[in-house]
Amino acid sequence: MSRLFLRNRLCMPVKGYNRSIVYDLIRYDYFFISNEVFELINTTEIIDFECIGDEKNREEIKEFLLKEEIIFEILESDEKFNFPVMNPDYSTPFLITDLIVHVDIDEVSIDKLSSFTLRDISILVDSYDKNVLESCLNRISMLEVDAIFIFLKEENVAYTYENFEALSRVNQLFNIYVFNSTYTSNLNQENELFTVIEIPSSFEYFSKNLDPNKLRINIEMFLEASNYHSYYHKKVYLDMKGNIKNGLYTDEHHGNLKNISVSRFTEIIESKSFQMLGGIKKENTLVCDVCEFRFMCVDSRMPYIANTEKWYHTVECTYNPYISKWKLETDYKPLLEVGVALHPTSGKLTIDYEILEQYNNFLWQ
């Protein structure tokens, strides 16, 4: 009798143009697999290994999937009912999960924000001033917020632990990001209550472009990205003037927090027009819809829609899913050079399969 295997319910295969990824949602890990293996395991039923004709190949795939605990063995087919499938819906009690503010945010605005429970707050700092930062952080930490992140935009600065020592009193501070700058500390890392992350690019480049450092694998991220836009959903950006925006790079604003009441602010962030961008799914977005990273990436580009059914971007992502290459890798080529043309105003996508296949054969065979 042949052995029976089921897919781990928290290992989700996601298909891309060239290859697929198994998202191991509980262990925050991932595995690349071929699209053939995707077809094999993209089922909640018992896996039919017999459809792989070549025995050696079949045993190798089985061994890999078992070793990584992507699949497991059951003794009787009825046992599959003991492993219910994950509910694909997503909801969160937070009205705002990510709030972005500037370091000089005024007292009145912070008071208004105290009516909300927030998941994360990111503080943007144009130029580092110890006292200004400390006083902002102290006020913000009084809000009901789980985690605080500081982004120091100034470049070519040599920071030391002494710059940030006083900030460690704030329990919710998790990370300080510095850009094209350095950080040194004599302290053992274990004793530091926050992590300073040195990003080797400018703030503008980092915040506008997707970077592998921004990828996250977990159940919540997977479900949110499957149902909503993982950047705009439940995000609020208060610009320097206090204007309420959907994200760092959206032009439109929805009023000014300084001039409105808390209830009006709540109405705005609950309104259809504010939530429109947050409702766009990757599945309905050109190029991203064939990308295997689509449920782990956070993409700050502004999506547009024309007379087509799908959304599109006017700026290209740093990952090209048609050739499975990141911009920082050798042999990366932009979409157009591999035969994928996205018309910048009509939002129409055309693919020259001959050119694309030729380049993929060169890369991957």
Partner: protein
């Protein structure tokens, strides 16, 4: 309480908002300990405070 949450978070099952300051104000020292264990860099395998990149 802290030890339990810490273990659950390590196993990836505790919602991280359990660690918010309001829930654990009496155990301030504990929070510090939990937070130290939750520090993350840019690895997939480490615990993140947020489910998605916050910026």
């Amino acid at each position: 309480m802290i030890a339990k949450i810490k273990k659950q978070v390590k196993n990836g099952i505790a919602p991280l908002h359990l660690l918010s300051s309001k829930n654990l104000t009496e155990e301030k020292k504990g929070i510090t300990k939990v937070r130290a264990s939750l520090k993350y860099e840019t690895s997939f395998l480490q615990i993140k405070p947020s489910h998605r990149f916050p910026l």
